[in-house]
């Protein structure tokens, strides 16, 4: 059978022509971004403006007509890369995260900042905070809450002793994939990963990979290293790591529970601007007597400010005393919110605002709002 390749030629020529135009436009966009970067530097503004990046993306995806070329999700994916790449051309972003490479924090950082950013893994959360506090990193990305494990206490403790501000939050579904160097599922003899990741896919493995040896490793990263060097070995981890380790995804979404997600905080030394749908996180200490928390919360109810989170944490400096972490609707620079926070502050022993940010699209564990 002969294939008529002649009919492809005109379309391929069109593609080549369009690619040239795209390249020209992307280069043009990068040059404008670099120009913008210089101005930001002169005004001492941060290179990365999360709110602006989100606005750019929303504007583009809103204009997508369904059924004409790519859908809005695909358009978002293409433009996310363009935005991240152009931003990197302004100045490389440095991000501290809880290492080693291959952790979920790493996957979250890759999702938020793109592959071109410089990632600085920290041995523990204290080090991640310190790296951003000292200016060595522009951002710190720290786990805040998990649907099954709950709030991350150590993050709360570190928030009480930092001058970093919460800039944004990010929800990452605990999404696991089976990856190997070659991508051929029939050659597998060993599957390696952190014991927790193996446990989260127990049912899937029993059903689809009977007889394959499960080898626990100290980290997902260690599992990935095994998979790179051994053709009969695969690793289970977040699919974002496939490109980082040059692995092939053989099967995605293999976790047994699909609703498990982790919320991360993105911290920096700057405040984010008002977007109109912000939330504000703060912590405070309440006097040690009956009714004190009630008195602290009453001004918020009076001002009609919605409470979206309230956690308690023992005060490490004083036994039997607690600190409260409160999230409310609104930006701390908005008038109504300023008033409510002032009234709360008057009832509390000590209050520190940690920052305002846009909430993730599907918050993990919102306190119920008053209607």
């Amino acid at each position: 059978m002969t294939v008529d390749t002649d009919s492809l030629t005109p379309l391929r020529q069109q593609i080549d022509h369009l690619d040239e135009r795209l390249l020209e436009l992307i280069q043009q966009r990068a040059r404008v971004a670099i120009e913008l970067g210089k101005i930001k530097k002169n005004l001492s503004l941060p290179v990365m403006d999360l709110v602006r990046e989100r606005t750019v993306l929303t504007r583009l995806t809103q204009n997508v007509t369904p059924g004409q070329g790519l859908g809005s999700e695909a358009v978002a994916a293409v433009f996310t890369e363009i935005i991240k790449t152009c931003r990197e051309a302004q100045a490389p972003i440095k991000v501290a995260f809880l290492g080693p490479a291959g952790t979920f924090s790493h996957a979250a950082a890759l999702q938020q900042f793109g592959r071109l950013a410089t990632f600085i893994p920290g041995d523990d959360l204290t080090e991640v905070f310190r790296t951003a506090e000292s200016g060595e990193a522009d951002f710190a990305l720290v786990p805040f809450e998990n649907t099954t494990e709950g709030i991350v206490g150590q993050t709360l403790d570190l928030l009480t002793a930092t001058n970093l501000r919460v800039q944004a939050t990010l929800n990452l579904r605990v999404n696991l994939a089976l990856m190997s160097a070659h991508g051929d599922i029939s050659r597998l003899k060993v599957i390696s990963s952190h014991p927790q990741a193996l446990a989260q896919c127990r049912n899937w493995l029993a059903l689809n990979m009977p007889g394959v040896e499960l080898r626990p490793t100290v980290s997902t990263a260690a599992g990935a290293t095994l998979a790179i060097n051994d053709d009969s070995c695969a690793v289970i981890g977040h699919p974002a790591l496939a490109s980082f380790y040059k692995l092939n995804v053989m099967s995605g979404g293999i976790e047994d529970f699909q609703h498990n997600q982790t919320c991360f905080l993105i911290l920096s030394r700057d405040d984010s601007p008002i977007t109109g749908h912000d939330r504000t996180l703060m912590w405070f200490a309440a006097p040690h007597n009956s009714g004190s928390l009630y008195k602290c919360l009453q001004p918020l109810a009076d001002a009609g400010v919605n409470l979206t989170r309230l956690h308690s944490r023992p005060n490490p400096k004083s036994p039997w005393e607690y600190l409260f972490f409160l999230e409310l609707e609104g930006h701390f620079k908005e008038e109504g919110v300023i008033k409510a926070i002032k009234a709360l502050e008057a009832e509390s022993d000590k209050l520190t605002i940690l920052g305002s940010y846009e909430p993730p699209e599907s918050p993990i564990n919102p306190l119920n709002n008053r209607s």
Binding site: H288, S290, G291, L293, Y294, K295, C296, L297, Q298, L300, A301, L307, L310, H311, S312, P319, W320, N365, L367, N368, R370, S371
Partner: protein, 300 residues
């Protein structure tokens, strides 16, 4: 001719009213684990909170005060069985969410009432213990449905139920496959009008004799008077109850439901300290208030 199929078993001449609930079949006390506590053991379990869940900050404020005072479990009604249809009926799922946020804040388990079989799935998706109210104590379809769960059930004694009828109600839940039943004496209807109901403290002894299930006492609903709550609580401890259910409201005067029988947080704290001191005399303990708690020093 003999019939080919076997005949239906004849009812026994005198079938026991309850079997699984009886101490005959289970001589040891039942222990019901809940988080880091065990109900029915040496720990004297205190469930406390507002009668009904109201808007913030009432629920969160009260929950926090109750935790700091040493309660083990937070109570609060989202579905309220009220004598009059015109009384406040509760916040329903909205109220369950507020209870869940109180659990998030305090780390304590929550107990709340389920009034109808159709709400069982909804309520059990939020609550750690499901409560059957006195008015539903003989709602057998509800009891059967709860028998299919694994979560602990707090079964209140019906206003007009004898101890035997009470144990029969529990039997419905146990027979369905759920062994985690906690009984609650909350007063019965008698000719006496000086209290809202007559708290039948001797029923605790009768139940302990006949059954292995844990029993707690609700002095708030029984008396209907806040200043009766502390003395009756001490009596319940003395008589051998496994715990108490007490109504606490951060602002009793403005409570939407049963404010006159609610303690304020200060009164509750005082009662908790007294109970902690008394508990060892009756082979009990309250471990949620530590000895180096500054509250104790203040009150010593």
């Amino acid at each position: 001719m003999e019939p080919t199929c076997s005949p239906a078993p004849k009812p026994q001449a005198k079938a026991p009213a309850y079997k699984l609930t009886s101490r005959v079949t289970h001589p040891q006390n039942s222990l019901i684990p809940l988080g880091s506590f065990v109900i029915g053991g040496p720990e004297f379990i205190i469930m406390a909170g507002p009668c009904s869940v109201e808007a913030d900050p009432q629920m969160l404020g009260t929950a926090w005060d109750v935790k700091v005072a040493g309660a083990h479990i937070i109570r609060g009604g989202a579905f309220k069985p009220r004598s009059s249809p015109y009384s406040f009926q509760g916040l329903a799922e909205e109220g369950l969410k507020k209870l869940a946020s109180a659990r998030e804040l305090t780390g304590l388990a929550i107990v709340t009432e389920v009034m109808d079989s159709t709400d069982v799935d909804l309520v059990s998706s939020y609550a750690d213990i499901l409560q059957v109210g006195a008015r539903n104590a003989q709602n057998f379809s509800l009891l059967k449905r709860l028998g299919q769960l694994n979560k602990p059930i707090l079964l209140k004694r019906g206003l007009m139920n004898t101890v035997e009828e009470f144990l029969c109600s529990a039997e419905y839940i146990l027979a369905g496959g759920n062994p985690n039943v906690i009984l609650c004496e909350r007063g019965i209807r008698t000719f006496e009008t000086s209290t809202r109901n007559t708290l039948d403290l001797s029923s605790v002894l009768a139940i302990k004799e006949k059954s292995h299930l844990p029993v707690i006492v609700d002095p708030s609903h029984a008396s209907g008077k806040a200043h009766y709550v502390a003395p009756l609580s001490k009596a319940a401890l003395a008589v051998g109850a496994d715990g108490l259910m007490i109504e606490v409201h951060c602002d009793p005067a403005n409570a939407l439901c049963d404010g006159e029988e609610s303690l304020n947080p200060e009164q509750f704290k005082e009662l908790m300290l007294t109970l902690k001191d008394l508990a060892p005399h009756f082979g009990r303990q309250i471990s949620t208030i530590a000895n180096h708690n500054p509250q104790l020093a203040e009150n010593a």
